[in-house]
Symmetry: C2
Amino acid sequence: MVKLNENYSKLPGSYLFAEVARRTAAFSAANPDADIIKLGIGDVTLPLPEACVAALKRAADEMADKATFMGYGPYEGYDFLREAIVANDYEPFGVKISPDELFVSDGAKSDCGNIGDIFSEDCTVAVCDPVYPVYIDANAMSGRAGDWDGEKWTNIVYMPCTPENGFFPALPERVPDLIYLCFPNNPTGMAATREQLQPWVDYANEHGSVILYDAAYRAYMTDPALPRSIYEIPGAEKCAIEFGSFSKTAGFTGTRCGWTVIPRALVRGGESLYDMWMRRQSTKFNGTAYVIQRAAEATYSPEGKAQIAKMIGYYMENARVIRSGLSAAGLEVYGGTDSPYIWFRAPHGAGSWEFFDRLLSEAGVVTTPGEGFGPSGEGFIRVTAFGDAGRTREAVERIKGIL
Amino acid sequence: MVKLNENYSKLPGSYLFAEVARRTAAFSAANPDADIIKLGIGDVTLPLPEACVAALKRAADEMADKATFMGYGPYEGYDFLREAIVANDYEPFGVKISPDELFVSDGAKSDCGNIGDIFSEDCTVAVCDPVYPVYIDANAMSGRAGDWDGEKWTNIVYMPCTPENGFFPALPERVPDLIYLCFPNNPTGMAATREQLQPWVDYANEHGSVILYDAAYRAYMTDPALPRSIYEIPGAEKCAIEFGSFSKTAGFTGTRCGWTVIPRALVRGGESLYDMWMRRQSTKFNGTAYVIQRAAEATYSPEGKAQIAKMIGYYMENARVIRSGLSAAGLEVYGGTDSPYIWFRAPHGAGSWEFFDRLLSEAGVVTTPGEGFGPSGEGFIRVTAFGDAGRTREAVERIKGIL
């Protein structure tokens, strides 16, 4: 009899967004005329930039001609895209990453999950609390999380991020092998400064840990003093893997393209982590579609950059509307200045799910309960800036109306 | 100090196709005027079918409009594509698979590699010998292969496929938990009959094993009596996972789309393997690009089907030319009638790499040495039918000239 991966049976049943969808559907069924505004799931709503659409169609035409047809591509992605990413997302910030240290993929989520393949199952994992659930679930599936006690995993090092510490984790007492950091953060919407990140890089180098840095929301940073990449922090090239994504930057959530940087200097026990990931990708992955890589490349064209700046401006105006509206209404609001996420405390000590239900039933607004991101998210609500501008303004007015 | 996955260090260094590329590059460097014909790697050369290109461009236009823009899609793929696959690749063959038993992915290679995630690392794996290297390497990375002894992995059950058994494996004495089968086969080019497959399905059901059936080359079967899917074999829905691909069927090697079928009836120890794979995919994958799924759907349109039939006819004429030419020259030739691969024995007892080098240096033809696919491939050569028709004819003439 085949033996299954027993770690799967330890996973708690209900996934956060599935439960949000279930409660929303139940409310809709009971109130068929209700006009619901969804600010819950972090999906974008504006169309793909015209430059990307044009590039996609040009690449499709190339595929139609035997002379320009593209078959299997490089496992690590085409040079044209790797070079464009480095030239635009690293060099301008003084980061010396080579295109040969970068892998193109079908999205940061795949890489954040699969990167565990190259590490031992005995590694200790640290995550911020609250946290994007994928980091934990992927490690739980590999047996690194221990057991689920109903609120936490027994072997995960949870690092609380609360108003008290500015939503930035303290260095843990128990030294983790793998440290997931995500800034600007999902769900809290807070960005990290150089001064905050430097001790983490030093700590990882001192202990031989590896930082897994999710920079998927970097395009939303407005403060020029904030580091766009972990590699802006001296020493990070010896201890950090960074994930990037076109999903939120350029509306690629349904088009699927991201990247992972593994510096050549990142070596543990004499092994190059770049070489290990190359082996993993060449065995279990066959590259990202050529036409998609051409669409991603177009995000760096002059037209693409202008269209993306406009798109991000649109979402950040939503963020401003949410942030200022809820603040003016007396709520305790975080994020939303360097991030598309706004994180606020439910009023009058209400619980996350309790206030989620009120927002749904009384205001017709779908949000995400902070508790779903971890124990330290209890009492908070996440709202995203990715909605329609008019609907977002209306949602804010409705929320104010029930406070 | 972070601990790495130690299984990676057990992997033998040189990957087959990398070594083929190295020797080819070395020959080219030494003979810059040599006119080399490549029949080695199994990549296609004809352009994407026009119907797929048109669908890709239509979908790109949808992405350009806020009203039709597509963000995150279902982890398991869009219903339009799942329904099209079932309606065209299963129902006509009498297979009762529901669209709700099928996952769309970025390619069969990803799924063949990642499927191991849902099984225990203690599972015993059986593979045909010779075999597509990904099955073994992916399991070696998870610790299921044991140690590499220079020729074989100590814990892998190798099932020799040779002229003596018609290139179809005998049921092994040691019962494996996971059984990889690929028909039409890569590299031998041989298809399997219902009568050959039925005992394997019965065996897997008797022992609780799971068959991982790679049907990536199904479109090349010409004999109508041959089963296109493992699910044509009674009982397979209780023991088999099947991988399908648009790569070779429709020239999608660089466009990336495939699928995996996990029947709801496939349950082990009370656990649904469909549910486990859904959990895996929803955690470590974010779906295949919408525009790519629309391109794949177009393979099933009347125009798409006609274009694909013409494309496969072109490649199969290459296969006929290779097969008949080499046979007429006195070589012992297999495959090529229901598969795009031709497998032949090197003449005069030559070794695989020895004859590979002769074909390269004397005929200027790049092939793949059979030894690279496993010990039972020693003495054989694989040639693919995916080249240009004129160049393929010339390659055959050149090979005949050096025999």
